[in-house]
Subunit: 510 residues, 2 copies
């Protein structure tokens, strides 16, 4: 059927066209069926939407990208014909009915994901099918490989490549900011790409961005790593395993994460990592609640690594409170820098020590002493400044140079006792409400941590914000939520069910 | 955050707004999060999309419906604030993780479906969760009730209400066109609403539309049924269980149908049916392959009926070949009319007899004789003409008045023997390729059915089309597919695997 092009200014990443209902019926197609478009010598495949009036009979609405690719102008001719659905849709249905997919089937799906050929309905059914039926290790390996191969590969000269990844979930975890320069200062290669926050107050890329640019191109990353041994960049700016970024857009609104293993391991494969440590924060308030669960997950990571030619070790770390004291991009960048200048919070140093020595331990015994020496001697700090400079930041930056939010409120204790528990989720929500991570200076500074003694009137935490209305919103939320538990000892009664309203333990002061 | 309205002409049924990425980040929201919009005294909730350039910072893109509801003009002020996701999303996630939902949870989901409050990702995860985890009978009953209650209810004075439904899958099934007037002529009330075709060559609404208008309003349907005892109308034109029509838009591209039971039963509840017969076509090439499967499904329909206060009987009918000879709206309408004028194909009459007597048998024994008398005496034909007239059609219409496609091709046999099998799927696909159901006159007329003797050169079937290029496409498809099997007896070898190309048995003649 020959139709006239109507160019639409609306942005769409997927190749979508809009047909008038009458034309769609004549072609025998329904919304979300596929058509082949032909204009001049160019051909493209598109997903069909149907409109009653917006597109008149005889016309076809084309989004920007398709119009450019087909090189067709407003009113130009486009030949439209219906085609079968892509093979990947057949494979998605196969998975949906509980069957195990073959490597080439998964590869085809990932290829079509990356090329934006699948509709949201198809993508969602793929993600929910994985969530419902799980993945065999063979499927996870095939997915990891396909996700790496459909993107760019970071090929570094100096091998082997070391890497680490935390499955996240604990606020204030600035470990990578200390770990990467430590490993690089030990003479090893560690090209760390990391994510921005999705639901947390800060991702490693958000933290590092307070110190240096993180949106580097592939060639720049190569230069930085070859010069300094390490980098701390945003993975989203380079096309390493880009399928993951597209699938996250489906996982996020559903708050499910069936692609955790292939997502992590595809990124590691894409940087040609040989030795990887996976950090699994464990505890109430973390993603993984018990050591048993952590062990199960670790086993899958290790086995998957074997299939991909990557040596993996896992560490389960204490995840029942934030790491260090700062939460939010700037507060965390400050704390990391201060830590490397010789004043690390005990838990942060402990965590960096364990992960760094596990990572170096792939090749050397007794790595712990070496790690401590690298940090204490200032080598790690100098290395971080080298990396900051190579990425385009100011190598002389001091903690107090990093601006933090000017609006601040202190939250004081209404009781005396000890800190019995800290609610990670509440801390994260309040920090986000205050503006983190998009307002870099927003966040929380803890003044007390687990086990600390508290007198009535002591400051428990400070909330920082760049904007007054966000501080107010964060405060309101802090009043609502149970952020910390204070008492002399753990009480036997956890809750009465149906639960009664908790007494409020906070006094608020502006 | 106060933003300026930009009115978008694009049609969208869902309340969607578009924010600039910078504003979305400031609000702390991601694509598909929800916001509350306030303009003047009006408030609305909308789903967020994010654009890089299409909507500038400080502006908000509003689709037509939202703009009308908020009564805001281009450049007018809209106050935007983030809100939590609707409760129904929490329930969908609960089902996604395999848990059973409570009636009030399902009711909330269906309410939000009907009010278009859920994104495609959320709708798809609901449908795939139902597909993966199935429905308990309690869930199916709650869904049926919720789907009926969120739409209109057809309240007829003359009770009890009778109804029938076929789960479909067999081409050429024009049973309802004979059954409805038969039941109505017996003095019973049967307000038959039916669907248009989704993937078949014709739905009952498509067939009836060759005889009379089918897009009637509720009040018109009431008038027709109260005047004649029956009707044959398109369910999509009235808001009976409208959730179903919205969920079908997700099920169709995935070719899954987890809502079969609530979908059927909610429509029956919405017309206050008391006695219902469900037709389950059974056999290779039908949706249900074996009597065992048919029994299982029937049991669920009957049990679900009990929970909804509806008496259900099920019939499993022979589904291994099309019903009668005509396939396609006009060819089927012709055949139904001819059948009522005293020349019914044996299988069609047999099917109508069984279903009608089962339906009347709820209240009377020995209904079979009565059904036959109603059809043979011409009472059913007169009743159909009454219904046609009441719906606004021509009561004097004769079969030959119904236009069928002028382009025709006969397909002849290249062998002698008997018809051993007919491929329903191939028949349906060829009829659709010829233009059915949107070209009403397109379709297939079978000249031979199962068991019929065939000489070399005998016509097996005729393909009708309104447009030449569609006839060609249908022909090409007929050459590709195995439509009928001809032989002296069933051969023991079904297939060699890997399958060899079948020899072609058709000779084509224009």
């Amino acid at each position: 059927m020959l139709l006239k092009a109507r160019v639409l200014e609306f942005e769409a990443k997927k190749p979508i066209v809009i047909l008038n209902r009458a034309d769609a019926e004549d072609l025998g197609i329904k919304p979300l069926d596929r058509v082949e478009l032909e204009a001049g010598k160019k051909k493209r495949i598109a997903i069909v939407n149907v409109a009653e009036e917006f597109i008149r009979k005889g016309w076809i609405g084309l989004y920007g990208r398709l119009q450019e690719e087909l090189k067709v102008k407003e009113g130009g001719n486009v030949e439209v014909k219906p085609i079968q659905q892509p093979a990947s849709v057949v494979y998605i249905k196969k998975k949906l009915s509980g069957k195990v997919l073959k490597p080439q089937e998964l590869k085809q799906i990932i290829k079509d994901v990356v090329e934006q050929k699948l509709s949201e309905i198809e993508l969602t059914s793929f993600v929910t099918a994985l969530y419902n039926h799980g993945l065999t290790l063979e499927e996870a390996a095939a997915l990891s490989t396909a996700m790496a191969e459909t993107g760019k590969i970071l090929r570094l000269k100096k091998k082997p490549v070391f890497d680490k990844h935390s499955i996240g979930g604990v606020p204030g975890d600035k470990t990578s900011l200390l770990l990467v320069p430590t490993i690089a200062a030990a003479g090893c290669t560690i090209p760390k790409t990391s994510s921005r926050s999705i639901t947390s107050p800060a991702g490693t890329a958000d933290r590092m961005e307070c110190l240096a640019p993180v949106e580097l191109e592939m060639e720049e990353i190569k230069r930085v790593v070859e010069q300094t041994g390490g980098c701390l960049v945003w993975g989203g700016a380079v096309e390493l395993a880009p399928a993951d970024d597209l699938l996250i857009q489906i996982e996020y609104p559903l708050a499910i994460d069936p692609l955790l293993l292939p997502s992590v391991m595809s990124k590691k494969k894409a940087v040609q990592a040989k030795y990887v440590v996976i950090d699994i924060p464990t505890g109430r308030g973390a993603k993984i609640k018990t050591i048993g669960e952590a062990n199960e997950l670790a086993e899958r990571f290790i086995e998957l690594g074997k299939r991909l030619g990557i040596q993996v070790k896992c560490v389960s770390t204490f995840g029942e409170q934030p790491i260090g004291f700062g939460i939010g991009p700037a507060l965390e960048a400050r704390e990391a820098l201060t830590a490397l200048k010789g004043k690390p919070p005990a838990d942060l140093l402990d965590k960096v020590m364990h992960i760094a020595s596990t990572l170096l331990g792939f090749k050397n015994k007794g790595a712990e002493k070496r790690v401590l020496q690298i940090i204490k001697s200032g080598k790690a700090e100098r290395k971080l400044r080298e990396i900051i400079e190579a990425q385009g930041g100011d190598p002389k930056v001091q903690p107090e140079d990093i601006p933090i939010g000017e609006k601040c409120v202190k939250i004081k204790s209404g009781e005396r006792g000890r800190i019995l528990w800290i609610n990670n989720h509440a801390i994260a929500r309040i920090a986000r409400e205050a503006g983190a991570p998009s307002d870099k200076g927003a966040g929380i500074l803890l003044r007390k941590k687990l086990g600390d003694k508290v007198e009535k009137g002591d400051v428990l935490l400070e909330i920082y914000a760049e904007k007054g209305f966000k501080l107010n919103r964060a405060l309101e939320l802090a009043e609502e939520l149970d952020v910390m538990g204070i008492g002399e000892r753990y009480e036997m009664l956890l809750a009465k069910i149906p639960e009664e309203k908790h007494k409020r333990i906070f006094i608020l002061e502006r």
